[in-house]
């Protein structure tokens, strides 16, 4: 066919239609999808708020986390402003108090008795439950402990957020170590495959098959309690799931054309692993890390609860809960605040991790 029969399509210029929007990369796409997940955004806000409080709240009042005040032990919460509404007013109900003493101003300073209820007679003595302003009763009227004090008169507000700080440090540190070990271990197993993979993964399975609580408890009993022991105890088996995840990712990507091409060009194994294949696993790694953090916080709290936590004078949320559960019926506020904080942390991290998982899911890329 002669060339003259052909003419260029599209008139004078031949060019592609320009994009009017900026290109959307993998991470930006994930961020956009995460932003649309309201629960994740709120959860992130909660995490940031608790993180902020963990760093700065211990400086909000003059009490150090280990300042012991034997005259002010087990004081109930008292918050300026709120006390006028009858909330956190420093009130405490004293049970079975002799009614004959109610007018004794040495025992009950004027104005300290708020309410007298449940009058009854025990062994011929008339008694009643007396609600008092406990701060006034013990001569600490000018004091305000927002979350009360513990068995050594230490401020529970300061201790709670110092405890949260330590719990978060333990959780982040253990997760970071788990991810590091898991990435290297999983990458080697996945990349080389064959016998290397078989031996490495069987070793991981053997370690993983021992019941977690048993191995962690024995580890801490052997090496003693303390922050480092707790972190290491959380690492013993914690890295295995990260290693399995990374291995699967490597099996998925190591046969792709761009990897084969790079290998053909003589790129070294280490470069292939860490530069060409691993970046594809960043999404799952971040998601796994986020999911691991609440379980690490919970594990630390559990260990502290059974007496295998960090050493005094350090404190964590688990240590606070462990101490408080002994007085749950007498001093419920000592359990209430750490319980609320750990619940908020667990829920927030889990919901945020769910959001991240959806955001990094390649199948949902570009989804509105």
């Amino acid at each position: 066919m002669p060339q003259s029969l052909f003419e260029p399509a599209g008139g004078e210029s031949l060019s592609a239609n320009p994009f009017h929007t900026k290109p959307v990369g993998f991470f930006k796409d994930a961020f956009l999808r995460l932003k649309k997940n309201r629960a994740s955004v709120i959860s992130l806000g909660v995490i940031l708020l608790i993180g902020f409080l963990a760093i700065f709240a211990p400086g909000f009042n003059e009490h150090g986390f280990n300042d012991q005040q034997p005259d002010w032990v087990n004081l109930p919460p008292r918050i300026p402003g709120l006390e006028k509404l009858g909330i956190a007013d420093g009130g405490r109900v004293l049970t079975n108090r002799r009614t004959s003493d109610l007018n004794d101003t040495e025992k009950y300073p004027e104005g300290s008795v708020l309410e007298v209820t449940n009058r009854k007679t025990i062994n011929g003595v008339e008694v009643a439950d007396v609600k008092v302003n406990y701060y006034m009763m013990i001569g600490a009227e000018d004091q305000y402990f927002w979350m009360g004090t513990d068995y050594l008169g230490r401020d529970l507000f300061t201790r709670l957020f110092v405890g949260a700080r330590i719990s978060l440090v333990i959780a982040f540190l253990s997760v970071l170590i788990n991810i590091l070990i898991g990435v290297v271990y999983g990458a080697i197993a996945g990349y080389y495959g064959g016998k290397v993979d078989m031996v490495m993964m069987r070793i991981a399975e053997v370690i993983g098959s021992v019941p977690n609580i048993a191995i962690v408890t024995m580890f801490i009993l052997f090496f003693g309690t303390g922050m480092l022991s707790v972190v290491l105890a959380l690492v013993i088996q914690g890295w295995i799931s990260a290693a399995q995840l990374i291995r699967a990712q490597f099996y998925r990507f190591k046969g792709r054309e761009y990897v084969l091409a790079a290998r053909t060009l003589g790129v070294r194994d280490a470069t292939l692993i860490f530069r060409h294949i691993l970046p594809n696993s960043i999404g799952p790694i971040i998601t796994t890390a986020m999911i691991s953090i609440p379980s690490a916080i919970f594990s630390e709290s559990f260990l502290a609860y059974i007496g295998l936590g960090i050493k005094a004078p350090l404190v964590s949320i688990g240590v606070l809960l462990s101490d408080a559960q002994k007085t749950l019926l007498q001093l419920p506020y000592q359990t209430f605040f750490p319980a609320v904080l750990i619940s908020a942390l667990m829920i927030a991290f889990n919901m945020f991790a769910n959001g991240l998982r959806d955001a990094f899911d390649p199948a949902r890329r570009g989804e509105e």
């Binding site: 004293l94 025990i122 011929g124 050594l152 050493k311 007498q330």
Partner: protein, 603 residues
């Protein structure tokens, strides 16, 4: 047809409801066995309710074998379900204690003029709960097994030498040790005179009361030969006797009838017991409830009849009319490990004194609702029980007690600086063992951790608190000979009811032959203690006072341990419990075993 189905369905539903109501009412009746159930009769009439003692304990008994039982919780079973030749109980005057023959027929009979040979007649009609007879052979076998050198029972030394020292018994029990000479059983001062008569030969002179007290102890209680032998291993180094109800039989005022391990124990009154007329509970139920908060809730709900309050629960009940406050025979203290090769400074008495004077016992007392104790002999130790003279009330004993609860930060700092300089140390880290089950040591430990740093300097002194389960802590402390680096100071509770009448026993754990926790080793002190055990010093109140003062002075001068607080008992009894005593009695407490139930007050 439809109507018929409706009728059938309605009838079935009604039947089910009736059944479920019936089941509910049965359940409710079964919820609380014994207590509150009356057998017929109108209100106001004489009630015939079963008398039941219900108590909750934090842990179950570990063994029923009297030769190895060491926990207080083991002793509770022993007290109720195993008799002994003699039984100590509150006297009928409600103010004193009396020793009565239980499985023995009468008081021991002195066979010589010195009081070293004693015959004890066993009752001819007493039996184990399975019907097997109890006679002199039962006691001979039990004591022989208790002292057996191959079994090496933890209570062997108590059997050999506690209230009385039985001839060659200690040597017989310890003959397997390095450098010990062989001792034949025939040389031990435990003989059979006839089928129902036992002869005890002691090393020195004792009184009949001493002999009776020795055979009132848990360690000298009888074991059932058949079951003991059945549980013995091939090498005869251990027996499973008393590890469950199948390997145990009772012979006490109550029979152990039901045991759900870790949950509940039930004892039923033994009407054939020689002291059956002195006990009133038809049934005794112990529930195992580890959590103190739950135990308190059970007391408030009327599910148990007694609770001992602790530092967390006492403030709530401090004015309750049911509250009974008592002194106890318990001293909390910290044992000192002197043999740690990494910390030789603990051998320096000035360093130990620095720790002693840096303990703010007044604050411990305030935090724990206990008595500050810069001393080691408790307030219930008698020098002359007949005249009611207590050791701690003596002016000479009070003079030994340092001022301000022994808290003197300046003096402590002087001793500390001096000891550190001598040891060539700039900083020291002290490993403190405490148990994770109780709050007392934790509170003291955490307070000391901060306060002692203030006194000695944060850059020079540090306490590392190691919190571990009680059994692990005990094992670590007792293993000082094989693992000397395990700790430096370890929290411990000294609690021995026998020390009320035999106060010198307080000092026995620091002698070379009897040290388990302590590794104190001082031949001069041992000689001093040996004097205290001799009849000359034991039987004469003046000499007893003299030797106790000397022992306590030596104890405090050499800082053998670090005493902290003397425990105070806060006890709540249900309104319907009628105690056999007006006030707390040393070695008997409130005599709960001999208490009664006022059934008219039952809810």
């Amino acid at each position: 047809m439809k109507k018929l189905w409706y009728r059938i369905a309605a009838m079935t539903l009604a039947a089910l409801m009736l059944l479920s109501f019936g089941a509910c009412s049965d359940d409710q009746q079964n919820e609380d066995p014994g207590q509150g159930q009356t057998q017929g009769g109108e209100p106001g009439q004489q009630e015939t309710a079963e008398k039941v003692w219900r108590e909750a304990l934090p842990v179950d008994a570990s063994t029923l074998n009297p030769h190895t039982a060491s926990l207080n919780y083991d002793g509770i079973v022993s007290d109720y379900c195993t008799g002994n030749l003699y039984r100590e109980m509150p006297a009928k005057d409600r103010k004193s204690i009396e020793l009565v023959p239980e499985l023995a027929e009468s008081e021991p009979e002195m066979q010589d003029e010195e009081g070293t040979v004693w015959n004890i007649k066993v009752r001819e009609n007493v039996k184990w709960s399975n019907g097997d007879p109890i006679n002199a052979d039962t006691f001979i076998y039990s004591l022989k097994m208790g002292l057996d050198p191959a079994l090496l029972n933890s209570r062997a030394t108590m059997i050999a030498n506690y209230f009385i020292e039985i001839e060659n018994a200690f040597e017989y029990a310890m003959q397997a040790g390095e450098g010990q000479e062989a001792v034949a059983w025939e040389d031990v001062g435990i003989k059979k005179v006839d089928d129902y008569t036992l002869q005890i030969i002691t090393t020195v002179s004792y009184s009949a009361d001493d002999v009776m007290r020795h055979f009132n102890m848990r360690a000298t209680k009888p074991v059932h030969e058949g079951l003991y032998e059945a549980g013995m291993n091939e090498s005869r180094t251990a027996t499973t006797y008393g590890t469950d109800l199948d390997s145990f039989v009772s012979c006490g005022p109550w029979t152990f009838t039901d045991w759900v391990k870790g949950a509940e124990r039930t004892y039923t009154k033994n009407p054939d017991s020689p002291i059956a007329d002195r006990v009133y509970f038809d049934k005794v139920i112990y529930r195992i409830v580890p959590d103190s908060g739950t135990r308190l809730q059970m007391f408030e709900n009327g599910e148990i009849d007694y609770i001992e309050l602790d530092m967390n629960t006492y403030p709530k009940y401090k004015e309750d009319p049911r509250l009974r406050v008592s002194k106890t025979v318990s001293i909390f203290h910290f044992e000192i490990n002197r043999v740690n090769p990494d910390q030789p400074i603990f051998q320096d008495v000035e360093f130990r004194k620095a720790l002693f004077y840096a303990m703010d016992r007044n604050t411990f007392g305030q935090l724990l609702y206990a008595e500050p104790a810069p001393y080691y002999v408790h307030h219930l130790a008698y020098v002359d029980p007949d005249k009611g003279i207590l050791y701690r009330d003596l002016p000479e004993a009070q003079a030994l007690v340092p001022e301000n609860g022994g808290y003197d930060p300046e003096l402590a700092k002087q001793y500390f600086d001096s000891a550190m300089e001598r040891a060539g140390l700039d900083k020291i880290k002290v490993k403190m063992l405490i148990e994770d089950t109780g709050d007392v040591l934790k509170v003291m430990g955490e307070y000391m951790q901060q306060d002692m740093q203030k006194i000695f300097g944060e850059d020079r002194f540090e306490i590392e608190i190691v919190n571990m389960p009680d059994q692990q802590k005990t094992a670590t402390m007792k293993a000082w000979a094989t693992q000397p680096t395990g700790y430096e100071i370890g929290g411990h509770l000294f609690n021995n009811a026998a020390t009320a009448l035999y106060p010198y026993l307080i000092f026995r754990p620091y002698t070379k032959d009897y040290n388990t926790y302590s590794n104190y080793n001082n031949p001069e002190y041992d000689a001093l203690y040996a004097k205290a055990e001799s009849a000359e010093y034991r039987l004469d109140p003046e000499k007893k006072k003299e030797i106790l003062l000397a022992l306590e002075k030596e104890f405090l001068d050499d800082v053998m341990n670090l005493p902290t607080v003397e425990w105070v008992g806060y006890n709540l009894f249900a309104e319907w419990i009628v105690l056999p005593v007006d006030d707390f009695l040393p070695s008997q407490g409130y005599g709960v075993m001999f208490a009664d139930v006022d059934t008219t007050k039952l809810p």
